[in-house]
Symmetry: D2
Subunit: 350 residues, 4 copies
């Protein structure tokens, strides 16, 4: 007899075809664990899949249970699993690396050439239970609130970017104050960046959040942004620029406000090729453009959990909405509105 669970299932190759319904609890292989989901959270990618954009059409096979951000408890571990056991509090790294390619064999599994992603290439966490490769599971401290535990995947993006920029004592600019940009503000503040200048276009809700999370100034992105940042920094510019918006004007601003010899750290995805004045903004000024993706496995997770443990980061203001799993459609509309921080699904109550 198959045991059943509730899940939000993307049913068909079409927009909005996601329904909360009863499906079988997944089986697990010998190197996997079955995890009971307590809370999950919604990523911008989930909205893309919900809306069935071009990328989703090319990548996703339906039916699919979405969701790659969650916190839960191990229900059962496969026979070869030695690293977790039933009852362990866990979240998971959403990127499943092959472990065999050059990148994996040299400590760069986050750019594994055979990468598969939870909730995209296999069923994810918007469900009562999820099957996860044991190597992807990360144990959570008992003291870590579930609502913070579930957002470790995007927080890991922010930590990866902020650590790459080595911010202590530096003046930095953060472009794009969506959830990951906001997390970067909070993390950079916790790491004693000298001054944090946020840049966002049009979203006053998020600008306010940025200030609460530690930004010293928050600017509107427009034709005067470069001049304003230079003015705020005595004409010096910032030591490092962090780009989370994926907006071409932000990139153009980022390479112009960064000091010579500094770095621009790019995590936001652009919709197409972007034009850059490499000669004057990058080459002659010895600037470095860093492509950042995912989380260093698992260095970023250890760093993130350590930073959380320091007590210097309070992400509470960032979690602005909570919905039970059956209200998934409503939750995703809040994400679409951008008048939010992180939107959390309270699965266990579902």
């Amino acid at each position: 007899m198959v045991e059943m669970m509730t899940a939000a299932v993307k049913l068909r190759s079409a927009p909005k075809s996601t329904e909360v319904r009863s499906v079988p609890i997944p089986s697990i292989g010998p190197s996997e664990a079955l995890v009971r989901v307590k809370v999950a959270s919604i990523c911008g990618t989930d909205l893309h899949i919900y809306d069935w954009d071009a990328w989703s059409q090319a990548r996703i096979h339906t039916p699919l249970i979405q969701g790659h951000e969650m916190a839960g408890v191990v229900e059962r571990a496969g026979e070869d699993v030695t690293t977790v056991a039933a009852g362990d509090r866990v979240s998971f790294e959403g990127h499943i690396a092959c472990g065999r390619c050059y990148e994996c064999r040299t400590g760069q599994a986050h750019v594994c050439r055979n990468l598969r992603i939870m909730g995209i290439d296999r069923d994810g966490a918007f469900a009562d239970y999820v099957s996860v490769p044991a190597q992807n599971l990360v144990r959570n401290d008992a003291g870590l609130p579930l609502e913070v535990a579930t957002i470790q995947d995007p927080l890991g993006n922010a930590v990866h970017t902020v650590m790459n920029a080595n911010v202590p004592g530096k003046t930095i600019a953060i472009f794009g104050l969506g959830p990951i940009g906001l997390m970067a503000v909070a993390v950079a503040k916790a790491l004693s960046a000298a001054r944090i200048i946020g840049v966002e276009k049009g979203n006053e809700f998020r600008k306010e959040l940025a200030k609460r999370l530690g930004a010293n100034e928050v600017l509107e992105s427009d034709g005067s942004t470069v001049e304003t940042v230079l003015g705020l920094t005595d004409g010096d510019g910032v030591h490092e620029a962090l780009e989370f918006s994926g907006a071409p004007p932000a990139l153009a601003q980022a390479v112009k406000v960064v000091r010579s010899g500094g770095g621009v750290h790019l995590l936001g995805l652009f919709n197409g090729p972007v034009s850059v004045d490499l000669t004057n903004d990058v080459i002659l000024r010895g600037v470095t453009l860093h492509g950042i993706t995912g989380r260093r496995m698992f260095r970023t997770w250890y760093e993130m959990q350590g930073i959380l443990k320091s007590g210097n980061v309070d992400l509470t203001p960032l979690i602005t909405h909570r919905f039970p799993l059956p209200d998934y459609a409503q939750a995703i509309e809040v994400v679409r509105s951008r008048a939010c921080g992180k939107v959390v699904l309270e699965v266990e109550e579902a």
Copy 2:
């Protein structure tokens, strides 16, 4: 007619021969500036010179005005000086690098082979005025309290060490809770170290200070230290160990409590050669021992001033005693007692 000033002068090659007296205000060369001292502070080295230990006898030429920690205001700049002007608030880097050797020419001026030190190799800051090479002057923010500005030289030692250990999110052990070790606690806390374990021998005053400045645990250094640290870290040990005590037992503990692949960062000076089990504690575990000295010129100063600007570091509890310059002998006995944090000389009132 020579203008006179008050100064604490080490008069003779003998212990305690320091007198506060009237001496001529120093002249300056074309690349130097005359700085009016507002406050100064006392380093352990000043006690060594006061006591005329073996090192002092070999290095110091009397008469000498000691003092390499201070905050003041530029009174007059030499004709070739373009970087500061009369009225600028300043402190100075105490190490005068030659600018011509391999180390200086490759960004390692802190280990310049022709290093000269303010207050040791030429007259220093325990006086109303001090002559300083302009390249050594660092401007202070108007908002920086004088008592913090004066301790930037030792704070820079702490920042150099903590930045070298890249502490965000890491569990660290700090051996030796004298003033620089205490500063390292505060800086590591401000940079979101996951957990800070202080280790000190016998000095309850400083152990209490360490807790106030951010240490999660403070241990007595004894035969059980290694076991205790391993116990506190689930047997894992710490990611990085920072050594400020100069005590051989602390080194032995440091190399044993650090994780494989981690680093031991050595700033404290040992009185003689030290025995280390390199094979088992260092080589087979891939541990690195970093010799740390001075401050990276001037990277550490920029980092330090940026960290102070973040507002995450409060050094107020560290400054425990204040004396007018004429009470120099009394002040130095407080330093000797070790029942203190930093001891500050209020020069301008003198």
Copy 3:
């Protein structure tokens, strides 16, 4: 009575207005040295100035003696100079850094914000004598041939780029086989790059030179370049790509042939903004784009002179043409033809 010398002087704000004529030997300041030029060499920039392109019109003040690549002997040193003396064999770093800005104070003088350049912003080396700030002089080993000594400025560009790419044991692609690209081939070969793939457009002369200097394969840059490089590397791509061409198609190829997690090192200057598919080629693959300019002062010089001393680099094939200084116009036409390696001016014989 003023002593005279022969020099190639750019006379007016107009193309080709360079004449070899008799001018006064320059005077020197207290921190400068007068250097007798033995050989000099021509950079692509000299051709731009000769042709009086838009950049030259905006930057250059005539009359000007061009030339920033040379080898010579110190004739006389200013009174404050302690690092060189009459008779010393020297070349010079062409970038004059201010020594006072943030970049200079943190070991990044190659991106000094007040940079001035020999032969561009003040008189250079296409003359019997040149006045040089002493801090820019680098001593040459007695055994270093003058023809190699003179090309250390562009060789330093190549060494800076190759060292930044950390090539030992790596498969690399080098785009643009002009003189600096060819030097990069030779240096990468000397540093045991596993495999060196050169890419050049249309210039068979330089392709042949690249093979002689150590390239394992040399490809024509065209629509099949990416596919060919991937084919040569079992579909893996190269570890690092070095870009010296300044041609937009080369950049597009470079970011596609580099492995995930690898670096693209950009020294060639593009004539305008360039379009890059940052999302797919850089961000999602964790690639880094490094802007490289000048030479690290003076780390690159020490590295370069050490690499030359190893005896592993033979640059003889690269020096293809020699002219006496009076034949400057003829020499510059050879540079224009691109059917050459480096073109050397034998000044002393002039």
Copy 4:
């Protein structure tokens, strides 16, 4: 029916109790491969086990087939193995990492806290066949001679150390000219170290080999070594020192001949604690002591194979003796004599 093979088996807890005899061909698990050994080579560790020293008595369980250096061909792969197949030319990384500890999860598997070693903690390669975890197998190029392929384990030690010292263009000292020190000479030469100074005690055979492999000078280790090295380097000292001898006097010399700001890279194992003047030689001069062990998994292997592919390293002179497997006892006496480079066992002919 069990198939049999020839193997050199350490039989008992006693010196020299190794016999070449017929034993069963090992079985393999699902993640392992059976490898047919073509050639193997003898490490100093094999001599320690043969002689049954204190370390061996504490670590080794008999009976044991020794040997962790070899080149062979995959005979059969376990059912879960996807990375190699029958017929593949392979060598193996001798260190078996757990893959689950902090070190393994952060790219530092070479210091895995649960490390097991081939030929020490499980049967090794001095046999016709060896069972190897598939993750430890590394494929060899068809063009790589078997005699070079077998010594990749110690060559990897040398490459790890030399790459850690970043030698291109630097003057280096190499202490201890046993096989790994000699390999380091050859690799450093191939990476264009400016100058290589070898230091060895009493072994003229190895000094001669060092010169053939690329050392510019080879010194006898004695009371004048420090002075001689300083004399050879104009009093500057070397940029980096590499220590392979495990002899305390070599360490004392290494920390004194290295420049301020340089590194001492320690791979040789000392028999007990060593005394170091940390204050004067390390801390005040900003020197770093790097504990080096094993090979970075698998970065060092990729680097090594790339360096070999460059064609710049010729290790032929290093392989001085060859024996058929049955002459194991004779081969090990040659290793003991130290009048040799690497000693190879030709297993397949056995």
